[in-house]
Subunit: 205 residues, 2 copies
DNA sequence: GTCTATAAAGGGATAGAC
DNA sequence: GTCTATCCCTTTATAGAC
């Protein structure tokens, strides 16, 4: 089934690639139009404004990630397995779209209003799915005591920072793209170990 | 000794405040001029271009931080004390200039050339001051084995991310500015504990 | 050194023809 | 739906008077 590419979809997919894979976060509408091989006016025709295109693309991307994460935390696996799978999804998804975190930080974090718009539901989410099971683990004695808020921030820090600081890390350790990617993949085990002070089991089904 | 403020210095200090304390990372030359109470043309007169002003301000700020960090790592204290003091300096300095990390990320990280320019010396620095003593600690058995590169990235992640993600964290945990600042201060102990899997001693002189 | 006025460039949005 | 032409706004940089 080879379909003639719908212009609207074409623009959206191109924007996604330009922003999240090529890392041209400051791309102009002209650049995106050129890349997609369409006239610049069509961006306005379909998305009304550059800002609207941004918003649409980001919303889709966040939604895709969130679906995957939700299905993990809505399962009834043990807490540590869930965290392990979360690390898996988060890292793999960001290896695919290396500049998505940068985009979120440069475009969203600057503007508290935009931020609330996109991440309003994240709060209750974290609180519901991480804080109570974390407290239970601590009560059971299966991990050492830690403030849940710091636990969450530690986890997010060690996941996100290496992505945002990609050029910095590559420069510091003389990593080419391949070595950097390998480094990211390794971090799954590293982060698990730091969070729980125990090795990540080989097979979590 | 009350001196008449030199216009050049005035502009520089104002830019520093606008960028790093007020967080107006996209401030135009007009905004900076207004804030400083000078004519906009003077910015070009003293700094030739907006970019040059950026560069000058950032270089000074990085240099100030680096001096402090250098004096810590050039001492002959035990390794863990050095890290403890580094956390101290890093966090306190960024509580003073809450948007400096954001500035580095939105202005510098995007552009690999700028990045190299500003952080070329950081590589050898980290390698010299952290990797060898870390390996010794591990050999001595005073901390559990860890890849030095991941150790460095873990540390930088847990230091920097909470600063860059300030609006996100405030929203997620409903922190006002005071609570957020308190949270940052707490992180000194938290990060030390995560890195070394032991409590930060009360008094490191 | 400091000001006003103006040039020049860049980018987003829109009207109107096809 | 798609294109061209044009408008408009923002912002930086500079020329020239004081």
């Amino acid at each position: 089934m080879i379909e003639a590419p719908q212009t609207e979809t074409l623009i959206k997919e191109t924007a996604k690639r330009v922003f999240f894979q090529k890392g041209l976060l400051k791309a102009t509408t002209q650049q995106i139009a050129d890349e997609a091989g369409v006239n610049r006016a069509l961006i306005n025709y379909y998305f009304r404004s550059r800002d609207q295109l941004f918003k649409t693309v980001l919303e889709e991307a966040i939604h895709e990630t969130r679906s995957k994460v939700d299905s993990i935390f809505n399962s009834d696996e043990p807490f540590k397995n869930k965290i392990s799978k979360y690390l898996d999804v988060f890292i793999d998804r960001n290896v695919e779209f290396p500049y998505m975190q940068n985009f979120i930080f440069t475009e969203i974090m600057q503007d508290p209003e935009k931020m609330k718009e996109h991440f309003s539901r994240k709060r209750s989410h974290m609180m519901k799915h991480i804080v109570p099971p974390l407290k239970k683990e601590i009560e059971k004695g299966s991990m050492s005591p830690v403030d849940p808020e710091h636990f969450i921030v530690n986890m997010m820090s060690m996941c996100s920072y290496p992505l945002i600081a990609k050029p910095f890390i590559q420069n510091m350790f003389s990593y080419d793209d391949k070595a950097y990617k390998k480094f990211l993949k390794e971090r799954k085990k590293v982060i698990y170990k730091v969070l729980f002070n125990e090795e990540l089991p080989e097979q979590i089904p």
